[in-house]
């Protein structure tokens, strides 16, 4: 490491300390910016110091969970692993993760790096990171006000992976967009997919990206859809066919609210409550095998893995069960609705929709979610909240579903947990997550007792 890189690391660390001292946030992106200002090549230098392998995870849905599985799987093998924090998945956030993990001599002590990367940022991150493995979860519409169109996202990702021809791609071959991307790049490719139908009708989401062949423009034939455009497809014109995946989950069973399945000769009794977490598990495993990384403890690790990831927290408030869920795009929201419907008990639901830049300023995606199912969700009340609560209210009104709105989230939670069904779902999009999590944690019965003692 040269003097310039050392200076970059030192200044980045000082920045981080300063931010924390001044209490101006968690300080996960600015240090990276400072480091890059001093040494533009800092990320290559840092990633070169990782002793064994680097994996980058990209895609619309499931990035954070998949990256977390990779992290815990490698930890379970006794490895030292670097990971970037949730949300810090742009260039500066990724650099921060590396520089803040160094020791006082600016040296990195890590066997592996597991990096989650935003699709737009990938174009700049990948050439510097030079990952051994690039995992792509899926591609679907998300934050169109930022990305423009799904095709633009596709092109960005393609540019990113073709800039690192030595990286092995881990591809969900049930997603025709991901599979076409892999085929159009020259990278080595390992596929994963699921051959049986595991998604129920409610979680299937009718809104899908183009199911027209990107090679010849003809409409694809589908044997069935998993959700969105994911499924078993074939092009009747040019012969593009969903391949037989290298890694698959079979004999999928849903029992006592959780899934179990066969994967590479193992029976996994997972804690996953939603089918898309089977995909996340499968993709992480495929990546580990492709690296190759040791996987001796994978089964034990995954069977006690918490898929919640802070995004699906459960609280007890006035003795009522309160669940917090994050839903930030149509596919993700559809999965949450399916989850709500799997619970047949009476419930109250709060939906918070904001439209900050982080959330996406365009809220038209709400109309791509099949909210009509909520009519059968045994919901005693539905309350909308957030800057776009009236748009959310309209979405429900046009399905003939009654709802109220509130600007006082705390008061509404207070009321519903004392006089309601004692079973409350709070669904929020991105910018409300941390604040709502904090609010609910502060109201939690256990937290209060602990504080009073």
């Amino acid at each position: 490491m040269n003097l310039r890189s050392k200076l970059a690391v030192t200044c980045a660390k000082a920045t981080s300390t300063l931010i924390k001292k001044l209490n101006r946030g968690s300080g996960v992106t600015l240090p990276g910016y400072v480091a890059r200002l001093i040494d533009p090549a800092i990320l290559s230098t840092m990633s070169g110091m990782v002793r064994e392998k680097t994996i980058v995870t990209m895609g619309t849905n499931g990035k954070t969970t998949t990256n977390s599985i990779l992290y815990h799987a490698l930890k379970a093998e006794g490895k030292k692993v670097i990971i970037n924090r949730t949300g810090a998945n742009m260039l500066n956030g990724i650099i921060s993760a590396f520089v803040l993990a160094t020791d006082k001599h600016g040296q990195l002590d890590a066997d592996y790096a597991c990096i989650e990367c935003d699709e737009i940022a990938s174009v700049r991150v990948l050439p510097q990171l030079k990952p051994d493995c690039a995992l792509l979860t899926n591609i679907s519409r998300d934050q169109l006000d930022r990305f423009g169109e799904v095709d633009i996202t596709f092109q960005k990702l393609k540019t990113a992976v073709t800039s690192v021809p030595d990286s092995t791609l881990i591809i969900n071959c049930d997603d025709v967009l991901s599979y076409t991307l892999a085929a159009e790049s020259k990278n080595t490719c390992v596929t994963y997919g699921i051959n049986e139908q595991i998604f129920d009708e409610i979680s299937r989401s009718e809104i899908r990206e183009s199911i027209f062949c990107r090679t010849c423009g003809k409409k694809l034939d589908y044997e069935f859809f998993h959700y969105g455009q994911l499924g078993i497809y074939r092009c009747p014109s040019c012969g593009l066919t969903r391949p037989n995946p290298d890694y698959t989950a079979a004999n999928v069973d849903f029992h006592d609210e959780v899934y179990s399945f066969d994967m590479d000769g193992m029976r996994i009794d997972s804690t996953a409550r939603t089918p898309y977490n089977i995909y996340n598990t499968l993709s992480a495993y495929a990546a580990l095998m492709a690296l190759p990384a040791p996987t001796g403890h994978f089964k034990d690790m995954i069977e006690s893995f918490d898929y919640g990831n802070n995004r699906e927290s459960i609280f007890t408030i006035h003795g009522a069960r309160v669940q917090l869920h994050l839903a930030k795009n149509p596919i993700g929201f559809q999965q949450k609705i399916s989850l709500v419907l799997k619970d047949s008990n009476p419930k109250d639901v709060i939906i918070q929709i904001n439209d900050t830049y982080q959330d996406g300023e365009d809220i038209s995606w709400l109309w791509d979610v099949d909210f009509q199912y909520l009519a059968d969700a045994n919901a005693a009340t539905i309350t909308t909240n957030g800057t776009r609560r009236h748009d959310m209210g309209l979405r429900l009104k046009y399905e003939d579903i009654d709802c109220d709105s509130t600007t006082d989230l705390k008061g509404t939670v207070e009321t519903l947990t004392t006089t309601g069904t004692k079973n409350l779902y709070v669904i929020v999009n991105y910018s409300g997550l941390y604040r709502t999590n904090h609010l609910l944690a502060g109201m939690d019965d256990n937290r209060k007792e602990a504080g009073e003692k």
Binding site: R141, G148, F212, K219, E361, D362, D391, G393, L394
Partner: protein, 253 residues
């Protein structure tokens, strides 16, 4: 019972930005008034009998999808033109708006349009993405929505749908947005357009009902408090100069 038939064109190719909300709005606002709505989705390649249709919705798609849809449009071009000239009601949004014109020149190709409107669109790399509010001479209430387009649409001598109060509109410079021609409303506004702008929905429904059942038809008012709240939230937000300044600063930093 009175009934309208709504043709949703090519939802397998054009289904961006919550187009489904416009369909749902047409449907529900008829049903709530005791009328019937039949929605027929026409997939790419299906033949379309325009004589059976009272409202046509042409939605948004990506540039690539528009290129694919272009070939199907050429097959229905004459019928579609006749439908419009016969006062057929059309709502065209985003990509659908561009396709009603002469052509859309994208980065790589020129997509031939339906030539129903004497307008053309040219792509520029900087996309125009933000909330948008119009004042339209057709309505007392402003029209609020969201725009997200790379194309700049030059409308020549056509009548615009509205004057831009906040946002960018057809070209980002002209100060106007969309086109109104006969019973066609063509616009970049999605979000989707109709649920937050029930006055636009009712305007189109009334045109379609009058064309089918006679000029004396009047729509009963509906309780639209929630619609007005959603609409005025956006209008008030962008009437606040301080907020607009804050957002502008954020956008450019």
């Amino acid at each position: 019972m009175k009934k309208l038939t709504i043709g949703h064109l090519y939802p397998d190719l054009l289904n961006l930005y919550g187009d489904r909300g416009n369909i749902q709005c047409f449907r529900k606002r008829l049903e709530w008034r005791g009328m019937e709505a039949e929605v027929i989705p026409f997939l790419s390649g299906d033949s379309i009998d325009f004589e059976k249709l009272d409202i046509v919705l042409l939605g948004g798609g990506s540039d690539r999808e528009q290129e694919l849809v272009c070939q199907y449009l050429q097959d229905i071009k004459i019928d579609f033109q006749n439908y419009v000239e016969d006062n057929g009601v059309v709502l065209a949004v985003c990509g659908g708006y561009q396709l009603l014109g002469q052509y859309y020149k994208t980065e790589k190709k020129t997509i031939k349009g339906l030539e129903i409107l004497d307008i053309y669109t040219e792509w520029e790399p900087e996309r125009m993405i933000r909330n948008i509010i119009l004042n339209s001479p057709l309505f007392d209430t402003p029209v609020a929505g969201f725009e997200n387009h790379g194309g700049r649409t030059y409308i020549g001598n056509h009548t615009p749908f509205g004057k831009v109060f906040f946002g960018l509109g057809n070209t980002g410079k002209s100060g106007y947005e969309g086109v109104v021609y006969k019973n066609v409303i063509a616009t970049y506004l999605h979000g989707p357009l109709l649920p937050k702008n029930p006055h636009v929905c009712d305007y189109l429904l009334e045109k379609a009902l009058r064309r089918k059942y006679g000029e004396e038809i009047q729509l009963d008012p509906l309780p639209d408090e929630l619609e007005h709240k959603a609409n005025s939230y956006i209008v008030e937000r962008y009437s606040d100069k301080k907020y607009v300044l804050k957002e502008t600063i954020k956008r450019y930093t």
